[in-house]
């Protein structure tokens, strides 16, 4: 027990003196696989993605006519996008300890596959995949969406 409380004190000290947990601490996923052109729109800027590119809430991922991409989010959601596809990661929260859970993504165009992750297991009603014509509610599953 003493070891434990000492460790807590050390952890507290480290957290106080290190403010560096900023931007990098809250990425919600990465581009794990890709081919061809993959662009991420973030805050009005378009950036070419590369392998292991970090994704944040609000990012819009676009694959070119020769592009495709595979994404893994922090809660184990696995997304893959065919060519000519556009996907927005509109809302993502995976903080079970604070009871904050949600995942909302929107497919604007193209072909997208979703394999749901832990958020869909812990709070299925808070997972929504939006499309221009309808919204999809998901219960722990593999979902395929095509928007022409």
């Amino acid at each position: 027990m003493r070891m434990f409380s000492a460790a807590v004190q050390i952890a507290a000290l480290v957290f106080t003196v290190s403010p560096s947990l900023g931007a990098d601490a809250d990425h919600i996923g990465i581009v794990k696989t890709m081919a061809g052109q993959v662009v991420v729109d973030r805050g009005g800027r378009a950036v070419d993605a590369q392998l292991n590119f970090r994704l944040y809430q609000g990012d819009v991922i676009r694959t070119g006519s020769n592009g495709k991409a595979g994404l893994i989010l922090e809660d184990d959601t696995v997304i893959s996008m065919g060519n000519g596809s556009t996907l927005a990661l509109r809302d993502f929260a995976f903080k079970p300890n604070d009871r904050k859970l949600s995942f909302v993504a929107r497919v604007y165009q193209g072909t997208v596959s979703f394999i749901s992750g832990q958020i869909a297991k812990l709070a299925p009603s808070l997972v929504h995949i939006e499309t221009p014509n309808a919204t999809v509610g998901v219960r722990g599953t593999h979902l395929l969406v095509r928007v022409d």
Binding site: F4, K32, D76, G137, V138, L143, L144
Partner: protein, 199 residues
């Protein structure tokens, strides 16, 4: 061009833009582990539920009711989604580590570290989560602190064995994400764990 003609043209263009409404196809496939979940496709005109694999619904407009589910079959769906599925990353790997007391790993879990390092190398992973969990015995605060300490201990060991520190993030789910759901204040050894997720 007069203002009136201009606004008529604009209205015409807008109508045209609206008339080429996008068609949407939504289909259900089995999970990688073979299980089949369910989906509900909803818009203001109605709702369709699908719980049979390879069934799909088409939605031709936001004010058009989703079509009754139709079985497209595995072949046809894999054809439509071949590009997307061809780039699908392998699902993240999970390792479960257990503790004897405080932040000391059980001998079995200590031996698992080698497998974790091999998996990180094999996947070229630079995105690793080390997530502390507890059982429901004790207060939220106590469990949060304990799971943070355990996650940090595992991270430190991985870094000591050569994993880049910036590739690892530690989080704590305290008692809110149990492996084995229990009532509050229940001792459950399988819930006192650190999960290592390798993406």
């Amino acid at each position: 061009m007069s203002k009136v003609a201009g606004s008529i043209l604009l209205m015409l263009l807008m109508t045209m833009a609206c008339s080429c409404t996008k068609s949407t196809l939504v289909a259900l496939a089995p999970d990688p582990d073979g299980k089949v979940g369910s989906i509900t496709v909803t818009n203001e005109a109605g709702s369709v539920a699908i719980d049979t694999p390879y069934q799909a619904t088409t939605i031709s407009g936001e004010k058009k009711r989703p079509a009754p589910p139709e079985n497209l079959g595995r072949e046809a769906l894999h054809e439509i989604f071949s590009e997307a599925l061809s780039i699908q990353p392998a699902s993240p790997l999970h390792f479960l580590l257990y503790f004897d007391k405080d932040t000391e790993l059980t001998p079995d879990s200590a031996r698992l570290l080698a497998d974790i390092l091999a998996a990180v190398r094999e996947r070229g992973s630079v995105d690793i989560s080390v997530v502390g969990h507890t059982d429901t015995r004790g207060s939220k605060e106590y469990n949060t602190e304990l799971s943070v300490c355990r996650a940090n201990a595992v991270k430190d060991e991985l870094v000591r064995q050569g994993v880049a520190s910036q590739s690892i993030r530690t989080t704590s789910h305290g008692k809110e994400n149990p492996l084995i759901p229990t009532a509050d204040n229940v001792d459950e050894v399988r819930n006192r764990r650190v999960e290592v997720h390798i993406r």
